[in-house]
Assembly symmetry: D2
Homo-oligomer: 365 residues x 4
């Protein structure tokens, strides 16, 4: 009987290949997800290029995905203790095995830094099982945390995708005051979700810098009051633009979501005195950058907060927002492009170039 | 009738001179302080060398001082509404004229960034009045906030001096958890006060790096569990040392109090994942430094907090601690050296070289 | 030359009278406001009935008002240091004389508890000057903080009125998590503004209980997802209703804005475990109420926060929101009723009975 | 081979009996603890009297205990991943089975309200296994979190006992500012630990009310600056006493640790405006109490925080403090009394009457 088709990165730098593999055996309290949509995010581009440490190639990418529970063995419970049933539409937290037993989990209570955690599609490899969303089916191991998406459009949810909990964590950490002016650096998926969530959290005005123009247009459609293209404006021009939009003070809150080390320093410079900067764009090592700790940090009395990963609460609250048509509105207006498994390399290229706001993988296409 | 002797920095880079000036006329609700002790801090060294912007030379340095109210015209009230009397021993908040009317004061509530504030001995010059502590008398303008020091040893209070509110603000901002391991970078007056205050705030272990050995000895006498000389240990050795004292994790909280830009990056590196860094040592512009925002900040999920200036609450609470013999104990054990007005240049040199832990100015010596 | 008409409460319990008084002389840096609109709030009803302590009868009520600066002597500056000009449309912070010199201001930093503060229309009496908005003109003493309302509809701003900063302070103190369910107890002006502001701050669902039906309808029009009439439902029914809307857990955040002591206990009971309760409805002493500290507080691990008064930041940020047409939308849809000075007693009755959502005083009507 | 002796409460209200039972079989990754010391706390008195809901009688009381690991099957790891060995001295977190899978754990992150958690000696009964410390041995189920106590005096650790993590959680939640005046209501074990921990967290002065005099003496020996006997002073006298010690303002922070509902209201009354109250004394239902929400809460702008249970971090940090001789000092000076298993009823009576500060159970006595 039929195997399962999956798109695989064979090794760092190699092109994605579609392979057919046997359907996994289910352990007690596990399930198979029949994937409707998965996505291609910036991390996947880095994965394919071999830029991340600790990745067990070959692997099936795709960390956040939506689908229907095809087969359940034993019980899969939601966070309110209800058992899922076969046929339910769900997503699942891509982070697995947070241990709740180590110093980082129990004493520091910073579970996103738990060394035991594994991420579907990133640190679970092909050898582990079918553990990525670029496949017809994903094996949901025991203790994988599913969230019901009954009544939610798969495509709307995936318009948020993995960027949604990441941005939600960043905006939560930003503690945006009612009426604040927020500057988002970066107009990729995390930046766009940060724009939407900042407005939802009480920001009165959100500014966004990034590129290309199509993404800035998306930022404005999502509610940004003003945008600036970083490819056509120098850092001095950007600073001037920020000051012009903030009564000369700088932004109350800056969310850095770019991937470029220099943006972290810009974030500090564009923040007002005693403002807050959240750094959520530096998930990959792109080297060093120089700053002036007197002028950029100490004298400004800044709060600069690194923001790593996300936990179940971010994913759950993101899903709750997406289940509300009004709240999901700005995401549903983002333009997405679908690619079948066989076109995964094209999808990666489209994301790498910024040509699309977001590329989805549809294993049934 | 007699003039007032004051030590004056005539211009940037010039040697301090003692001058005799006429006693100022008192406005309504002002006073003259007869100085018992003032101090020489790192800022004074920068003042003399012309490293600070916006200083109205010539000026009389000495921002934190202790003395007796010699003459009061009208009323000077303490924070509880009691009127001071001539002869009372007091200190006064060196920051004056925080406006409580600007955006920074009223909306951001970050009064240490109020652009209207003036600092005795730093941004009040000789032209303004006798507004620095290196003098027989200081003119306390209306609305200067005095704090009673009845029953407090002048020398013990000055062992904290201006470093006390600065360090108190930094430690407050660090939000040290009970039982934490705190690393203080720097063994100057702010670093030493940070060591003491971190222990007082619930730290179980405090580590301190700095130089020279005499100051590290003072850190240990003040309660530091271990110290390391930065002049004889490379940054790699320092990192190893910190990890060895923190179960390989890094410190829960790092307070940077050195003045060297590189120390800010070290602070991030020596903090544990999801730890807190307070940057309080960068009061002067010493240029740029390079860091890796992925490794040093984002992936570590750090909180990095610049800490600028101090407000009345820090000064007041510092004075309350100093009025308690047990709490003041660690400061009373610091070795201080007294200099008369005529030896101010020597005092500056002793501070600049780190030869003394702290130099006091005694205008009656 | 013409006097100024003002509505006066002569003494506790007495009917409001319109009197004509001489226009006040202006001190340096003061102004006269030509009132366009003032309002009648619950506090005014208590004022008229003599329920508040420390009120210097006779007085002109009306604490929050909008108008044009008719005459300025010297300079009145806004928070960004710009001088107002005669003819500018403004509102002003009704709280005056926060001292910034007492323990409460400087050490506790809880300026809304400063004992020196005075409130226009409440603790400034007729003897002080024309210090209430139920008059053709209000005398703005030196250091009164005005905020420009150029381009803002006077009626929209007054739809928020004094309830806006009060509710904003409460919602700020509630620290609403993104996606939370918030329950607002009370559908008067503070409750309605709390509904709007909770949604603006990231609440996914807002529930509101109150009366009469017309106000609950206003709550729904302002965005509340569900409402319940407290006059026709018992406390058991209310609890059941809250649990039904919160998956049986209770609300994440409850804002009490009713005036009834019993509502404070209901607020604790309707909150989820480890939830937050903000108590902002108890501005007047209506006696005691009984609760079970084990069941209602300790075992629930609740945060219960009293919220008193508001400061400039709340007023300023409220005005910023009102200057944004989209943000001001929900307020602009509230139904208001205007009364001339001569109908102030009618206005008080309409507010006391809850017949109107809000009554405005239009001195030119 | 011998059975295991254990003291058992057969049913609500019945006297404790010593029984001999068979040693339990060990599951994989479990252990047997050979008890050196357990304790009798207020909760045990309520247990014996049948005042707690959900207790599976018969049961062996004793939730916090110290002993040596007698037998380990499989692996028991500490929080840093090190395996314990037979013979190690340890304590263990009495809370077991926090699920890390429910809404309360994962979304609210308030794990002390997880409905799945079980407590050794309270909600694990005799039918479950040997799950209480009043026995020669305790069965440590898989996933029980042990903490090494090598080099720590068993009696010193037990002087803190279960009160230590409870008080530590309360003091953590109190966020005591450096230099604050803290009032602790209650001089039982939780109150005494709160006195010590408040001082350790930066309080400058700690006041304590309670009874009898022997316990107040213990409070002063532990560092309290002043104490008041509640049996010989009326609430008016107490209020006057608090105001006299706080410049008429009330305490910055009040920790309620009494068990009496009325103390919660006193806590609010004795706190200063904008102060903080932590309620940690209401672990059992003792009925209702009446308060004035205007005067006692809203107008005071108070923060009132219920504090339920404790988690691993509190227990772990408590153990870290106890492993430091200087920090453990105040506890080592508390007078304790030891009782063998056969004298458990006497021990309960001694605790109920307040005759002893703390009663220990020594199963080998």
């Amino acid at each position: 009987m039929g195997g399962v088709l999956a798109a695989v990165i064979p090794e760092p730098g190699a092109r994605v290949e579609v392979r057919e593999v046997a359907e996994p055996e289910l352990e007690e309290n596990s399930a198979l997800l029949e994937v409707e949509l998965s996505e291609v995010c910036g991390t996947d581009v880095h994965l394919q290029r071999g830029r991340l440490a600790g990745v067990p190639y070959p692997l099936v990418p795709g960390h956040v995905s939506v689908g229907r529970l095809g087969k359940i063995r034993g019980r899969m419970l939601d966070v309110e203790g209800r058992a899922f049933r076969e046929g339910d539409r769900v997503t699942f937290l891509d982070v697995h095995r947070t241990c709740n037993a180590c110093w980082q989990c129990l004493v520091a209570k910073s579970t996103t830094r738990c060394p035991a955690r594994k991420v579907y599609g990133i640190t679970y490899g092909f050898a582990d099982t079918l553990a990525g969303g670029w496949a017809e089916k994903v094996y949901l191991k025991p203790a994988t945390r599913c969230i019901s998406l009954e009544g939610v459009e798969a495509e709307t949810f995936m318009a948020g995708g993995c960027a949604l909990p990441t941005a939600l964590h960043a905006v939560e950490r930003a503690q945006i005051p009612l009426g604040a002016t927020v500057l988002v650096l970066g107009s990729g998926p995390v930046g766009l979700s940060a724009v939407i969530l900042a407005l939802m959290s009480g920001a009165l005005r959100v500014l966004c810098t990034g590129a290309p123009d199509s993404r800035l247009e998306a930022a404005r459609a999502a509610g940004a009051h003003a945008t600036l293209n970083v490819e056509t404006h120098s850092t001095d021009e950007r600073e001037e633009w920020v000051l012009a939009h903030t009564a000369g003070r700088g932004a109350d809150v800056v969310v850095e979501a770019t991937g470029a080390p220099a943006a972290v320093v810009e974030a500090m410079r564009y923040a007002r005195d005693a403002g807050t900067v959240v750094v959520v764009g530096q998930y990959t090592d792109h080297g060093e950058v120089s700053f002036n700790p007197h002028l950029d940090l100490n004298r400004k009395h800044l709060d600069v907060r690194g923001c790593w990963g996300s936990d179940f609460s971010h994913f759950y609250r993101g899903a709750q927002l997406m289940a509300d048509a009004a709240r999901a509105g700005p995401w549903s207006r983002l333009r997405l492009e679908r690619f079948g498994l066989g076109r995964a390399n094209e999808a990666l290229a489209a994301v790498a170039s910024g040509r699309v706001v977001k590329a989805l993988i549809d294993p049934r296409a």
